[in-house]
């Protein structure tokens, strides 16, 4: 029961942080949105910072778990890139509010949470780039600049949540197909 309450608090906080920003959201706003007294909120959660850290490290762990799984699959690099694009889409569709915090609000993380988040982010990007490099080496991927390719995919995927929030009627399968088309196959016929 206590766990469920905590989950509701985290979900509501993600939505408030997204719409008002982390700095402008108070514990009082959060208590009101959850329908609790501010005092009882503190039975479940110590601080706004604890909430931000929980939301962002959960998101980071979803990406790290996905990367681990995809790295270990016995498929070629380009198919791994496709799976990673799907991973981004699926996580963003499922946790749109929490994922929105990955673009800006993560800057408000403090101390160890900041360090852990940043180290996971860098590790993720390094492993993603390594898959691109292996694909280029095996000539499955064109001889592009891997930094430019990584940056293009991650910029698109980072803002996908905002684009998706304004669109209707796409299934996950269609989204995966359309983003793979554009990001992997390119525009040139």
């Amino acid at each position: 029961m206590k766990k469920t309450k905590r989950e509701i608090i985290l979900k509501t906080a993600a939505s408030l942080f997204r719409s008002k920003g982390y700095s402008a959201t108070s514990m009082r706003d959060l208590a009101k949105a959850v329908g609790m007294e501010a005092a009882s909120l503190y039975n479940h959660i110590k601080s706004k910072q604890e909430i931000l850290a929980a939301l962002l490290l959960d998101a980071a762990n979803s990406f790290m778990d996905g990367m681990e799984r995809i790295e270990n699959e016995d498929i070629k690099p380009l198919e791994k890139i496709e799976r990673l694009i799907s991973l981004h889409i699926r996580i963003a569709v499922k946790n749109t509010d929490a994922i929105s915090l990955l673009t800006q609000e993560w800057r408000h993380l403090e101390g160890e949470a900041y360090t852990e988040f940043n180290s996971k982010r860098k590790d993720y990007e390094k492993r993603f780039k390594n898959i691109l490099i292996r694909g280029i080496e095996s000539e499955e991927i064109k001889n592009v600049n891997p930094d430019v390719a990584l940056f293009s995919i991650l910029s698109t995927m980072r803002w996908f949540y905002a684009w998706y929030s304004k669109k209707d009627g796409f299934s996950i399968g269609e989204l995966e197909q359309q983003f793979s088309d554009v990001l992997i196959v390119g525009l040139k016929n």
Copy 2:
């Protein structure tokens, strides 16, 4: 002479808005950074809002002028997309600080400046999308979802300034080539 002073003020403000954010930058900070008394700053500029509007509308106009020129060129849609990618790269390399404001700080625009900026942004995106659609219709461009293609190119180009600020040693020609490769030709060999 007065115009040059105004230019120095705008350039310095762009750099402060980028590093501290628009909200956190005071006219006092700006006066100090320019090396003027706050009182004499007001001989050149009425308000922080006037500066933000000047910076963002200048940037918007550079994109609109580029779009106008490229639309009127007698070249195929895919080559127009290439020219638009170059346009983004050239503007961002030349005015990195001002361009950084296009990602977040534009939200602080008020009144008519906000309306004008948003209407230019929408018009630009609509015209960009029309070029993509014409390319798809003539089968020069693959049958991708034009909204997804537009979003992918613009997300990458919007954050190009941040990527570029951390990189060294690329010429403009190399940047144009590498981003065209990734965004137009794709990864798949």
